[in-house]
Symmetry: C2
Subunit: 201 residues, 2 copies
């Protein structure tokens, strides 16, 4: 199968990280994340939102949205809990990541470190940095309050993979994680899981 | 169980619509959507993002994020397909709705029709209106291209419920849906399903 990918996108990294954990082979085709002019041509008919990650299965069927791709491969594995409530909690954190965490932290990181136009976007960066810290506060409070080592329960799930992707590179956007003790420990825990691969892999 | 609700929130309406279809009873507690000052107090410990909908099950366990709540009740019913790929497609459209559709269309609708400060937010409204039409274009192209009457396959799923919520009130934000023929037919189809309830219900 073929993954339309970006090497620096955390959303793509989520998919690569899960597929690495599961030992599922695939091909990659990297698209430029700054120059998006070819996306319409390449992804039309595959992803209504013309974004990466977009996956094309061996039979040609396309699947988009990192969360949906994670779910497709995660269902029935150790990365999706067998318990119905725990499963919904995994989705709760995945939706939180896409609605609240990513639109702040990933966007700031992109504008600061990859767009080449950080000055032009100074106001957006300032505003979304506040939102990003609010998302980190929410995650820190949850991890600090829970007895569980992972976001949902005692083992690594899709919720950890989804939240790890942009949290572990938030510093590239200027976020200071020093004050987030529970997040720091959790990041180390996720990265030390057998089968883990870095975003550069 | 108890739903922390807003009568005008499309995200809350998704939950109410599914629970109506399923005939599951619940209590509501309405929170003000404009004055959000009490949210921290009311929702702390229940929802890390301090937003509605937040659901508290009869045993006291809280669940947040409309998509996760829909999944919790939808799994194992006719609203979540039995086929693995179709299930992932439902999630694809639910994540699309939360990442691309809702942050444009729901926000414009809120600012135009409910915030009382539309003038102050004129620039945001202008920018997000463009984004909202792009989301509607993506949905129209999908519905127009498919032979299926619903977003994923031949029957109403959580994807329809998630996308219907803010699409059917997009006109409140000034969106002109006249040119979207496939969306128009689909909205009528969703609203004529047995068990459907309006957002006011």
């Amino acid at each position: 199968m073929l993954l339309f990918n970006s090497p620096i996108s955390g959303n793509c990294y989520k998919v690569r990280l899960l597929l690495a954990h599961l030992g599922i082979p695939y091909e990659r085709r990297d698209l430029d994340v700054v120059d998006r002019s070819s996306r319409g041509e390449v992804l039309d008919g595959l992803n209504p939102d013309l974004r990466v990650p977009t996956l094309v299965l061996d039979d040609g069927r396309p699947l988009a949205e990192s969360g949906a791709i994670l779910w497709y491969f995660g269902e029935g594995t150790r990365f999706v809990p067998g318990d119905r409530f725990a499963r919904a909690k995994v989705l709760q954190w995945m939706f939180f990541e896409q609605y609240t965490h990513e639109p702040a932290i990933a966007v700031v990181r992109f504008l600061v470190a990859y767009s080449g136009e950080a000055d032009r976007y100074a106001k957006v960066i300032e505003r979304k940095t506040v939102d990003g810290y609010r998302a980190l506060d929410a995650l820190e409070a949850h991890l600090g309050r829970s007895d569980d080592p992972y976001v949902v329960g005692g083992t690594l799930t899709l919720a950890d993979i989804a939240l790890y992707a942009y949290t572990h590179v938030a510093h590239e956007g200027g976020f200071e994680l020093g004050g987030y003790a529970a997040i720091g420990e959790w990041l180390d825990r996720v990265a030390s899981e057998p089968g883990h691969v870095p975003i550069e892999a």
